[in-house]
């Protein structure tokens, strides 16, 4: 029996409880004015931050609108695409895909246990969750390029260093996003399985995995796709792939070439997206 207002209040009014009084009591309990102040403090802070950001970023919507018509001209420069280097691009795409597959694959292997340890609703060791979250922040905070460079001194220049860099950096993002999926699962079925005396791992395999799998697959493929797209930075260890080709075209202002690469990347992203959709649908 949980009473947000005192019992006497309910009894006093008997058959016609004073609903207004109840509402008022509840509002008082929630601390009306204080809460309002609290909220408006955050609101004002957010708005101030937004305005300051807009100033720093030199947002100028007027100019933006006025110059919108020039868009067409810019786009027209992309055409016609230049398909002459297509074989090279395909090779670059495959290299990028391969690095992303190895990197993301390793990241998945490490991220699953990490996510299990970090997700607040299923971690078996609460005290470990916080330091592990720190580790994840570390992995996320250090760029792929820096990891890659670091691994150059171990495995030398080349795609392997790139793949290792991808793996380490991605692990941080992946475990975080995985943990988020796991935390959003309904707790009852998991609890029901744990109530049978089953241990964490088995409960996870039996009750958590089937529910979470679509989400986990979605995230894994998203990060894979992301790694493919963002292979630019791996150029510094000699593992450029398609992202680097894109950057080069951009720097050379070679728009027809850029257009071809964009089309290829788009095709790849769409394929991965379709693949992800197909997979998740099959799980239903």
């Amino acid at each position: 029996m949980t009473l947000p207002f005192t019992k006497s209040e309910v009894n006093r009014v008997d058959n016609f409880p004073d609903l207004n009084a109840i509402l008022a009591t509840e509002q008082r309990r929630q601390g009306g004015v204080w809460k309002l102040l609290h909220r408006s403090f955050w609101g004002v802070l957010a708005i101030a931050l937004l305005i300051a950001s807009a100033r720093t970023a030199r947002v100028d919507l007027l100019q933006f609108w006025q110059r919108i018509p020039t868009v067409g001209e810019w786009l027209s420069r992309l055409f016609p695409p230049d398909f002459s280097e297509l074989p090279i691009f395909f090779e670059a795409i495959w290299e990028t895909l391969a690095i992303a597959i190895i990197g993301t694959g390793c990241a998945i292997l490490v991220a699953v246990p990490l996510a299990l340890l970090v997700a607040r609703n299923i971690t078996p060791v609460q005290w470990l969750a916080t330091p592990l979250r720190g580790l994840l922040n570390l992995l996320r905070g250090i760029d792929t390029a820096i990891f890659a460079l670091f691994f150059v001194s171990i495995v030398g220049l080349g795609p392997f260093a790139g793949a290792l860099g991808v793996a380490f950096h991605t692990t941080g993002s992946m475990a975080k996003l995985y943990a988020e999926v796991l935390e959003s699962l309904p707790s009852e079925p998991i609890e029901a399985i744990e109530a049978t005396g089953s241990d964490r791992l088995r409960s996870f395999a039996f009750a958590v995995l089937p529910e979470a799998l679509p989400g986990l697959i979605g995230i894994s493929l998203y990060l894979w796709e992301f790694n493919v797209r963002s292979s630019v930075i791996l150029g510094i260890v000699g593992a450029g792939g398609i992202g680097y080709e894109l950057l080069v075209s951009l720097k050379l202002l070679d728009f027809p070439r850029l257009c071809t690469i964009l089309l290829l990347i788009l095709a790849m992203v769409s394929l991965i997206d379709a693949f992800s959709a197909y997979f998740r649908q099959r799980l239903n």
Binding site: T2, A192, D199, A205
Partner: protein, 249 residues
Amino acid sequence: MIVVENLTKSYQRGHFALQNLSFEIVPHTFTAILGASGSGKTTLLRCLLQLTQPDTGKIWFQGRNLNQCSALELRQARTQIAMVAQQFNLVRRRTALENCLGGCLPELPLWRCLTSQFPASLLREGLAALERVQLLEVAFQRADRLSGGQQQRVAIARALTQKARLILADEPVASLDPETAHVVLRLLRSLCDQEGITIICNLHQVELATQYSDRILGIQAGKLVLDVPTHQFSNSDNDIIYRTHLGSI
């Protein structure tokens, strides 16, 4: 079998969901718990299994104090206790049969749980349990595509598959039609009589409690207000459990 001493639980300060409950359950008996909606029946069962942490009080199961034992010991104790939850709590994306097997995971190697490749002997056991609750027909249907009563019976079948010594059933026949309800309660009764399994069962229908149980506990607003052998249960006892509740309308 199970001894409860001064069990107290409050979710919100000053309001007790359970207040100072003490009782002892004798093995091989069928105990029914009656009480108005919101009186704390579910909380009590959950506290017994340590799914909800009691504030104070002790719970002994087979001579082991469940409040203070290690995680491993608790897991071992839990394998001996099966729970049929009020909201069924099935794994939605698994079939009825697979859900039944959820009761015997500790016996299985991890890879079988991961790949859902369950051994045929276990599958047969699951099917047998489903048959006892008349669900063979939907054994391979996903749990979230079952009707309410079917889900409830799958939850019961899961408890059967667990082969526990104690079954805690939280309103196990709430969503069942009268005939099926009797089938299920007869089943629980026979488990108790023939296999010596102890049963604690929350019920709402007093007739069913008097018909099937050995002993009736009455809870009212978190307090134990009644504890009688079923054959002594009278209409005045009925009033004790539900009356004051009605008075507050």
